[in-house]
């Protein structure tokens, strides 16, 4: 045997996975060095979707950033909206009305469900389970119908405003949501039956790319990938924002941090999020959704149409932008992939001095070489899906 390996001179094969490859949803390149099917070395090459988000924000007013945040994690845009709005509100120091908080929770959780559905669906697709993919995409689509009802667009939501929301919940939104959830739950059960106990699927994901918790924390893991390692860290519980402290939900945690745990954590989080939305509907109080502070939230149309002082002030806030006090702030929300942080610096003018986003999947993507060395090339598929790198967020 040893003679053969000595005489039989084989070279490693260097091969580009991406930037345009079926596995790289979002544009990313893996420079893999293969020894047969085994990965000897893997380099992740990101940045193909870099649009200069952070620099772009510095050229607009504080409000103009909100449509840009839709394009960060385009699978769950509402969470980005909420995260940015919360950060600016923290910088200003205003507190939004109760109803607004509940609606923001509903919106974020709907987005989170969409994100997890998409992620698991894509995982199924890439492993060849095409039916599971389409069942979850159907579930996502009917949730997108809800989001469209709520904010007028399916993906580019632009729903949350600094100091409030664009609009209140539409009529019959609760009934429609509960109706949709019934269908989502049945599709969830179908996919659960198709995948969770299926040995082919389990063989593909179990014990692949396992991360010990300390190493995961060292890499900066957050979100489902960290929870799958057994660390119950969830921004919604650890530093409750909005009204998450009033919601009754659990943090699903895994054991080994492999892909199967990531899958199970996400499946469980879908059900938790569904129940959070239902609880929010039960608890939601009536009342206003915007702060009545013309210097931060654009005024109501009634005032703008009818009162000259309001009209003048409206012009002022739109053209100059709102002016948060000088200072800097870091505020984080639990994005679908993990901790989505916004670091804002204000110099007191109408435009942000600096906006830095902490994308959760940047840290996760950085751990790809650590997770993949010595594995098979086919293992890239479930791993890269389960860490759920979103190009728009990672590259910004």
């Amino acid at each position: 045997m040893s003679d053969i390996t000595k005489d039989f001179n084989t070279e490693h094969m260097v091969i580009n996975m991406g930037p345009s490859h079926p596995v790289t949803h979002g544009t990313v390149k893996f420079l893999t060095t293969l020894d047969g099917e085994t990965i000897v070395d893997l380099k992740v090459d990101i940045g193909y979707l870099h649009r200069g988000f952070e620099k772009m924000c510095e050229n607009g007013t504080w409000q103009q950033v909100i449509p840009y945040t839709d394009r960060l994690n385009y699978v769950s845009p509402l969470i980005n909206n909420v995260g940015y709005a919360l950060a600016v509100e923290k910088l200003i120091g205003i507190d939004v009305p109760e109803r607004c908080k509940y609606i923001r929770v509903i919106a974020s959780e709907l987005s989170r469900i969409c994100d997890h559905l998409t992620n698991i669906a894509a995982g199924g697709l890439e492993l060849g389970a095409f039916s599971a993919f389409l069942y979850f995409v159907e579930a996502r689509d009917i949730i997108w119908d809800l989001i469209e009802m709520l904010c007028g667009a399916r993906v580019t939501a632009n729903y949350v405003r600094i100091g409030g929301l664009k609009n209140d919940l539409p009529d019959n939104f609760k009934e429609k949501t509960l109706e949709v959830f019934k269908k989502v739950r049945s599709l969830w059960a179908d996919v659960d039956k198709l995948l969770t106990k299926n040995r082919i699927f389990i063989d593909r994901v179990k014990d692949i790319a396992a991360m010990p918790p300390d190493e995961a924390i060292a890499y900066g893991f957050t979100g489902p990938c960290l929870r799958s390692c057994g660390v119950p860290y969830d921004v919604r519980k650890a530093q409750p924002y909005l009204v998450y402290d009033r919601m009754d939900f659990e943090i699903p945690i895994g054991e080994t941090g492999d892909n199967f745990d990531r899958y199970l954590v996400r499946m469980e989080e879908i059900t938790q999020s569904l129940s959070i939305v239902e609880q929010a509907f039960d608890q939601i109080p009536p009342g206003p959704i915007n702060v009545d502070m013309p210097q931060y939230r654009w005024q109501s149309k009634d005032d703008v149409y009818n009162r000259i002082d309001s009209l003048i002030f409206h012009f002022k806030t739109v053209i100059e932008g709102i002016k948060p006090p000088p200072g800097e702030i870091y505020s984080a929300v639990e994005g679908a992939n993990g901790e989505l942080g916004f670091y804002l610096v204000s110099d007191g003018s109408g435009k942000p001095y600096k906006i830095k986003v902490r994308p959760p999947c940047f840290a996760l993507t950085a751990a790809m070489p650590r997770m993949m060395k010595g594995r098979f090339i086919a293992d890239i598929v479930p791993t890269f899906d389960m860490i759920n790198m979103i190009g728009g967020e990672c590259d910004r």
């Binding site: 007013t61 409000q63 103009q64 950033v65 909100i66 449509p67 840009y68 039916s131 159907e138 689509d141 469209e148 009802m149 709520l150 007028g152 667009a153 580019t156 632009n158 409030g164 664009k166 609009n167 209140d168 539409p170 039956k193 198709l194 106990k197 299926n198 040995r199 082919i200 918790p213 300390d214 660390v231 119950p232 860290y233 969830d234 519980k237 650890a238 939900f249 659990e250 943090i251 895994g254 054991e255 080994t256 199967f260 745990d261 199970l264 469980e268 206003p288 959704i289 702060v291 009545d292 939230r297 654009w298 005024q299 109501s300 149309k301 009209l311 409206h314 012009f315 739109v318 053209i319």
Partner: protein, 207 residues
């Protein structure tokens, strides 16, 4: 210092630093070992085939016996023949609203131009008969527009609204996507629903 000991007494999670009873972790990986039944592949395969076949049969039945209020059980819409129902909140192509006499409501104040996050709008203001301000040119570059709806939200005159038009937004040639004022004008009647909707959602009751 006092605070630190408080946290310690409550038995924090060593890595998160928050009391465990507050975090409420739930172990999701309960069955690490597959039973012999499950590890034989075949029974799980049959169960999976049962699910997909059930979907198949139900959908086929749905073609014949149509569910209430739907054309078929499959939720796909045959697009050009059938149209999707658009919610009131839907943001389609931004259009300029005219008065009954055909003159545009826009007074060329420039708020939409200023707030547009994509810099898609360009206005040239002029005065008509020495008093009426109006846009002599209102150019909307639809290849830049991101349909965020800010122009509608800031407009003090209800002059630009996001209509429900979603067809014909794409062109083969980018130069055709730069719309002039004349291409954007719509009568007040045709966008009545939207104007009512924005009056409702941006009204005083939300503040």
């Amino acid at each position: 210092m006092n605070k630190m000991t408080d946290i310690d007494q409550k038995k924090c999670h060593p890595m998160v630093g928050v009391p465990i009873e507050k975090l409420r972790p739930k172990q999701v990986r309960k069955n690490l070992e597959l039973t012999l039944w499950e590890s034989l592949y075949i029974f799980e395969i049959i169960r999976g085939m049962y699910i997909t076949t059930r979907h198949f049969v139900l959908n086929m039945i749905g073609f014949v016996f149509k569910p209430k209020g739907q054309k078929r059980r499959i939720f796909t819409v045959y697009y050009p023949e059938e149209k999707v129902t658009i919610p009131a909140a839907y943001r389609g192509r931004p259009v300029l609203v005219t008065w009954k006499n055909g003159k545009e409501k826009c007074v060329a104040c420039g708020l939409c131009e200023k707030i547009c996050p994509a810099n898609a709008i360009m206005i040239v203001a002029e005065e008509r008969d020495g008093s009426d301000r109006y846009p002599s040119a209102y150019t909307l570059d639809m290849s830049r527009c991101v349909y965020c709806g800010y122009c509608e939200e800031v407009c003090p005159k209800e002059a630009i609204v996001m209509s429900a038009e979603y067809q014909g937004l794409a062109e083969r040639d980018r130069s055709k996507m730069i719309y002039s004022k004349e291409q954007l004008l719509r009568s007040e009647e045709s966008v009545k629903d939207r104007i009512e909707y924005i009056r409702r959602i941006y009204s005083k009751c939300s503040y």
